[in-house]
Symmetry: C2
Subunit: 421 residues, 2 copies
């Protein structure tokens, strides 16, 4: 089964927006085990959209067309599809009713042009569920092939593709193969370091070909180890992924901080809650980035109290009570961490100070970063040397600091477990 | 002159990376006044790359092929181009020498496969300057058409396209036209509100066709008004842009906060410096986002002192000295703003408190946001109702708060100017 993607929109060709939909769709098709050999981008022009759709239908079994389904004059995808199908557009009463109801529920006047979105090529099926937006998706059978039309708004596109489109594609492909991935997230080793540690696993898997392992350096999100498995049954895929995840975790140990969408902040937050502790931050070079990541964790109000962003040096002295002396130093971050606990009333204080660049500071080179932790009345600090530009150094500081906090909390939990045993 | 783009790489089809090159190239072509009607993405497969290149050369005058020029077995773009040209690959001595020299300058052993990159289709010209990477770009004349091959690494692609490729395209198109844009950045009116205000200008420009005006809602970056001008001489283009920018600023007045890359934080920072004032923040729902934006402004250490991220309510009371009572209120943000000045030792305090969602808070609906300012010993506050999800509400809060600060600083500067007059 071959499926290709056609992205419609003059704004894509002009470079006014970057097309992130095609990459997302490509990933979904790969995971569904469907071959995807071409993606074409074309502007809002009837003849050119038609020619691109005909070429795509010639060489593939299925085509996903994204965009051009809105209510304005520029939105011509459904007209062109009707032309390619050789049919007329007809008003779909159910869709029309849904769109009208959506506007009246919001107490808004509906411009008449919105009913254009309820026009459906004869013989096509409107996808009405799930339906976060007004434009419905369309399933358009053309001979033994099929064309899916989905809105260009990423949130709407994803909902419709994850629902009706992938299910229909799977049914048509007759393939019962299920392909799924799991991401194991790490910090503390380079990509090549991880590859070396996992060398034995990778060699064993290469011999069988399933599951597979790949690495992806993802900045503030850490270095990802992606495990992909394929089988006839979802239960088998899940079991394979679980077994391989366990094997990878066994080898990598504390380098692993989470799986799939779990961030390092979330993982530190879970440990803080297990230990019954709250966190306060003192940030210098990260300038609020660490706090904004903590706030993004759902439910973080249970463990996160706040942050003192001390950009000016005297804020470190006056608010956090740091002693005079070099600010890029073990003494400074230890003082900041203790100060964060005191000022913010938190059990744990986590502090960073360092040189984001572009210039060196206090004679210390760009990338020099100190991390301090205050916990249970004791303060300690560590030192890292980070690569990259200003933005990267800030992001690496953030993940390095939360990672060190995570490791200290793990130590604490283990020490307590030993005492209990 | 029509030029189309072909992006080569199986990793693009699989969605492992998002293709940002095509959007950047699209923008360059638009600014160069060259029509760009199609972009096609294809995997690392000889037959399919060949078929896509032939289709592209059929319907366009020029084709830019990105990617597949590296040293590995997967990198087959130059082989396929030679096949399309009907010629052999030959080693280009000059390129071979440059690649060898590059490795020895870095004191690194050169894998033999790197010399593959010095192979050039007979009749093609290797682009060797500017040359940040090892793979050279290629100019390949095919009849009266042309095919350009450029590396997929964004930095290398941009250097080669900005240099040789655009110059060659301009020469071939015979167009001496220069097209440039300027962005005027605004906050305080919707896209349709701006269109209404600028209705007169737009009607006048539509009659002439040059320059043109377009709107682009850009989240935390505000709503952009993009002016695009075309002329034979760069000086004329610059003069047209300057005149139109002045006309737009005249109509929009204080809605305009900057041009091109100037953020609202940077614009507020300029005013703070002119007034000789420093800024301290007190952030609740933005959780450090405002501070991290301030820190990103070059030279912000001259006016930015820091931020108190008070995520827990009692931090607002204990650190900032806010009175008991509802936290999403005028009284709370006024207290926070005054507290920020006091704690951080700043001349101006800017504070935000509100409901980012997903749930309402203190009986106030999602999107309710208060902004407080303390300046010269006086505190005041304002109220906004913002749309969107959690992330959008945080971003809109950030730009709304910095915008209100900017407007208060403008008032202050004008009052002083009147006193002096």
């Amino acid at each position: 089964m071959r499926c290709e993607i056609v992205a419609v929109g003059t704004e894509l060709l002009l470079g006014q927006i970057v097309d992130t939909n095609s990459a997302w769709l490509g990933e979904q098709l790969a995971l569904a085990g469907i071959d995807h050999l071409f993606t074409t981008t074309v502007g809002d022009n009837r003849d050119r959209i038609e020619s691109v759709l005909r070429t795509a239908l010639d060489r593939s079994d299925a085509v996903i067309v994204c965009g051009g389904l809105g209510p304005t004059q520029d939105d011509i995808t459904r007209d062109v599809i009707a032309r390619v199908m050789g049919v007329e557009l007809k008003l779909d009463d159910e869709v029309a009713e849904r769109i009208t109801a959506m506007f009246s529920a919001r107490g808004r006047r509906m411009p008449a042009s919105n009913l254009r979105q309820a026009e459906v090529p004869a013989g096509a099926i409107a996808i009405s569920d799930p339906q976060p937006g007004t434009a419905p998706g369309l399933i358009c059978p053309i001979g033994d092939k099929v064309l899916y039309a989905v809105p260009g708004v990423p949130r709407e596109l994803r909902a419709i593709v994850e629902g009706a489109v992938l299910a229909d594609l799977r049914r048509r492909s007759g393939s019962t193969a299920v392909i799924q991935s799991r991401v194991v997230r790490t910090w503390g080793e380079s990509e090549s370091g991880l590859a070396e540690l996992l060398g034995g696993r990778i060699a064993a898997l290469d011999a069988v070909g399933n599951p597979t392992i790949a690495f992806l350096a993802s900045g503030i999100e850490g270095i990802k180890v992606r495990i992909t498995a394929k089988a006839d049954e979802e239960a088998t895929v899940q079991a394979t992924l679980a077994a391989e995840e366990a094997a990878v975790r066994e080898v990598l140990g504390d380098l692993v901080f989470g799986a799939d969408d779990e961030t390092i902040e979330a993982s530190a937050g879970v440990l803080l809650q297990e230990e019954g502790l709250t966190l306060g931050l003192a940030e210098s070079l990260t300038g609020g980035l660490m706090a904004s990541r903590a706030v993004d964790v759902p439910g973080s109000s249970r463990w996160f109290r706040g942050s003192i962003v001390s950009y000016a040096s005297d804020v470190k002295h006056e608010v956090l009570g740091v002693q005079e002396g070099p600010m890029v130093s073990a003494e400074a971050v230890e003082g900041m961490a203790a100060g964060a606990c005191k000022v913010l009333g938190s059990d744990v204080g986590l502090a960073v100070s360092g040189v984001a660049g572009p210039d060196e500071q206090e004679g210390r080179p760009v990338g020099t970063v100190y991390i301090g932790i205050s916990m249970g009345g004791e303060v300690e600090s560590t030192y890292v040397r980070l690569p990259g530009d200003r933005r990267q150094i800030r992001e690496f500081t953030c993940i390095s600091a939360f990672n060190w906090l995570r490791l200290r909390l793990l130590d604490r939990a283990r020490a307590r477990a030993r005492q209990l045993a």
